[in-house]
Symmetry: C2
Subunit: 186 residues, 2 copies
């Protein structure tokens, strides 16, 4: 059943999404401090007052945008194939997600900074860590290696955005090193 919805609501939801995307773009490009009613509205090509129609306060906008980007990252992580190629798949996906979407990754990182100060966002950090741990647990059973993998992946996101010169091969080699898979690279 296609669930006949109000045409007005449908368009409204689209504008809501546009605002969310614009917010992520602003955060990733200019940082959290640059998120203002005017800046987001300009990025979304919407009148400034639209912001406060869809979100009670600017803070709610930011929170919603960050939950949104977390959702997408975790969905991507969870969708990765299991089995033999799991390690390479994680390496490829991680490198891909930082190469093509630098802005989103930067926004995601700013979420964490914010989450350390906002009690309400703490849950999002836990979700991220749990998702990452699940992915790491597919590569090894050694709990210590899992810890190391989670740290490596977190560190990778960090370095990729700041110094950005890691390739797939390098990351894959590191992951293999940590999991104890001493197979050499071609």
């Amino acid at each position: 059943m296609p669930e006949r919805v109000d045409g007005r609501r449908r368009r409204g939801d689209r504008r809501r999404r546009t605002l969310l995307d614009a917010t992520l773009q602003v955060i990733g490009r200019d940082g959290l401090a640059a998120v203002t009613q005017r800046a987001v509205a300009a990025e979304a090509e919407l009148p400034p007052s639209a912001v406060y129609y869809y979100f009670p306060t600017l803070d709610d906008l930011v929170t919603a945008a960050l939950v949104d980007v977390n959702d997408r990252f975790l969905a991507e992580l969870a969708a990765l194939p299991d089995g033999d190629d799991a390690l390479r798949a994680i390496a490829v996906a991680t490198v891909e997600s930082t190469r093509g979407r630098r802005v989103e990754v930067l926004a995601e990182l700013e979420l964490w900074m914010l989450a350390t100060r906002r009690e309400t966002l703490r849950g999002e950090v836990d979700r991220w860590n749990a998702g990452l741990r699940d992915a790491a647990a597919r590569l090894t059973d050694d709990p210590c290696a899992i810890d190391a993998l989670v740290a490596v992946l977190n560190g990778y996101y960090w370095q990729a955005v700041t110094s950005s010169r890691f390739g797939v091969e390098q990351l894959e080699a590191i992951l293999r090193h940590v999991t104890g898979d001493r197979r050499t690279q071609d």
Copy 2:
């Protein structure tokens, strides 16, 4: 030779330092967005106009503060003992520096976010990575392991500040795992 200096300049330098410390405190506590002339002045218990006497713009203040915290972290890293206990020393120092100085670590992390957008701060990130790599290179010769160690340590700072539940033993075990030292923990 004690280098007889102008008493006015001496007091001025002290106020400069006070402003730098206050800035780091504000950044660590409330984030980069909270750094305003009034907020920093209040934190330093100085009149607002003092800020613009010592720093041309707010941006210069922030930059100076972040270079400052980088200096201190790197000095600490470089001062770590070499030799047999190097690994444990790094683990202990890393955990210590995140436990006792959460605010400074948070400020340091914000440097990175800023550095990705500010060309002038790019050098500071390179300094940090080089320092970290030097420390890691004392633990192993395997270049792949060094990469892994740098990523792990970066990831650790990240996790320590956001989820904060890593102990010395856990970090030490991870480092040993990555360096290939399979010695069991007591």
